[in-house]
Every structure is written in structure tokens, then in C-alpha cells.
Amino acid sequence: MVSEVEVKNLLKNEIANKMDLLADNIDENAHLADLGIDSLQALQLLVVLERSFGIALNDDDLQYFRDIKTLGHMVASRIQEAAAGGVH
């Protein structure tokens, strides 16, 4: 089972690569827009999350693309639901 910490680490690494930042310097409470993530990059991030963790996300889930902490928590919950055979 993938942990919330692993999800957040993946998010930090993806954002660091996209925005040319150091992953260790990214604050998980920082607003994604303040890190330079726009709607295009949010869509790309969403596809990365789907591919990495085998979950399905939709337009409504974009509300969680506020900061890494919120997003990581939501994704970890979806992974748990999927593992438990729940609908996501």
C-alpha cells in the first residue's frame, strides 16, 4: 500500500522537475499556484497521479489541487478506496 508520505514525495519530485525547484525546499503547505503550477501543469500532474497510482480522478478533484498536503491526503484516500474495492 502506498503511503501518504510516498504520494507527497512523488508530488514534490514532479513539481520540482516541472518548476526547476529543489524537492527538499518545497513546503507541502505552499499553494500550488505560488509554486508556479497553472491549469495546464495541474492537468499534467493529475495524469501522472492516475498513472502512478492506478486511480481515476476527475474535474471535481481539481478542488484538491491547492497544496501538496491536501492533494497528497486526497490521493492516498483514493488509493485506499481502490485497494478496498471501493468506487473512486
Binding site: 499534467q44 495524469v47 474535474d59
Partner: protein, 163 residues
């Protein structure tokens, strides 16, 4: 006729050039799609682009040998994704007015060039469709051989003329 075997024309799932001009805002010399030979809403599209020596970019690319610029192969694939996205959103009707969509990102590998006389088969599968944009996996083929393969993201934008 290798391409015809790969992508048989499916009656009822084809679009002619005039249909495409209703969906795409692009015009000469940047309308890079001649026909859609098959599609399934929300899933995939197969477009066709016939490369001809009369196209204006061959004046400069290159004066000594005619090679279709790779960016225009990307453009042809992006227009195919644009059409598929429009068809997937609009249901049975064609849109009344072309929507503007902008290429947000491209990851593309090119295996060989396209030259006059080639018929590009443009196959695009939807990876993810959202309200604000669409991601597609794309491949361009000539005579059954992949010449370009990658992933595209298109974003819907407000018409800048209205801003």
C-alpha cells in the same frame, strides 16, 4: 495501400474537409488535416494528411530538399486531438463555431521525416479529457511505419479577441 488496410474508412465515422473547417479555426497554410477516416467519441481518432510539394513551407524547408517540418507533424496530430476533443464534447452535432484550443505541451520523438507524396496517418487516443483541457497519446504513420510518436496536451482558452 498499406494505410488503407490499417485504417479502413468507416461509414458514419468519417469527417470530410468541410466538416473539419467547421470544427477547426485553422486555415491555409496551417490547416494540417485533410480527412478523418475513423473515430470513436471519447476514445480515438484516425486522421489523414496528404503531403504535397505545393505546400508553402517547402519553399524554405529546405530549398535543396523538401522535408515536412516536424512541428507541422505535431500540429497535424494536435489538430486531430482537437477534433476528437470537440466531437467528444459536442455529442452528435458539429460545433456551431470553432473553439480555440492551444497546444500546452508536447513530448514527441521523430523516427523519420515526411516528404511530398507521403500520406500521414494520424492516430490519437485520449488519455484524459477534462473541462479545461485534454491529453492525448499520438502517433503519425507513413506506409505502416511510425514516423513520430508522443503525447500532447491541449488547453481550451478564451478567445483572446474577447479579452
Amino acid at each position: 495501400m498499406a494505410d488503407a488496410v490499417e485504417a479502413p474508412i468507416r461509414p458514419g465515422r468519417t469527417l470530410c474537409f468541410e466538416d473539419l473547417r467547421q470544427i477547426l479555426a485553422h486555415r491555409f497554410p496551417l490547416l494540417m488535416l485533410d480527412k478523418v477516416v475513423d473515430f470513436e467519441r471519447g476514445k480515438y481518432i484516425v486522421g489523414r494528411k496528404c503531403v504535397t510539394a505545393n505546400e508553402i513551407h517547402f519553399l524554405g524547408h529546405f530549398p535543396s530538399v523538401a522535408i515536412m517540418p516536424g512541428v507541422l507533424i505535431v500540429e497535424a496530430l494536435a489538430q486531430s486531438l482537437h477534433v476528437l476533443d470537440a466531437l467528444s464534447r459536442e455529442g452528435d452535432a458539429l460545433p456551431n463555431e470553432p473553439l480555440l484550443k492551444f497546444l500546452g505541451s508536447v513530448t514527441m520523438n521523430f523516427m523519420r521525416p515526411a516528404v511530398p507524396g507521403d500520406q500521414l496517418l494520424l492516430e490519437v487516443d485520449i488519455v484524459k479529457q477534462m473541462r479545461r483541457g485534454v491529453v492525448g497519446k499520438a502517433v503519425a504513420r507513413v506506409d505502416g511505419t511510425d514516423i513520430a510518436r508522443g503525447e500532447l496536451t491541449l488547453m481550451l482558452k478564451e478567445d483572446p479577441r474577447n479579452e
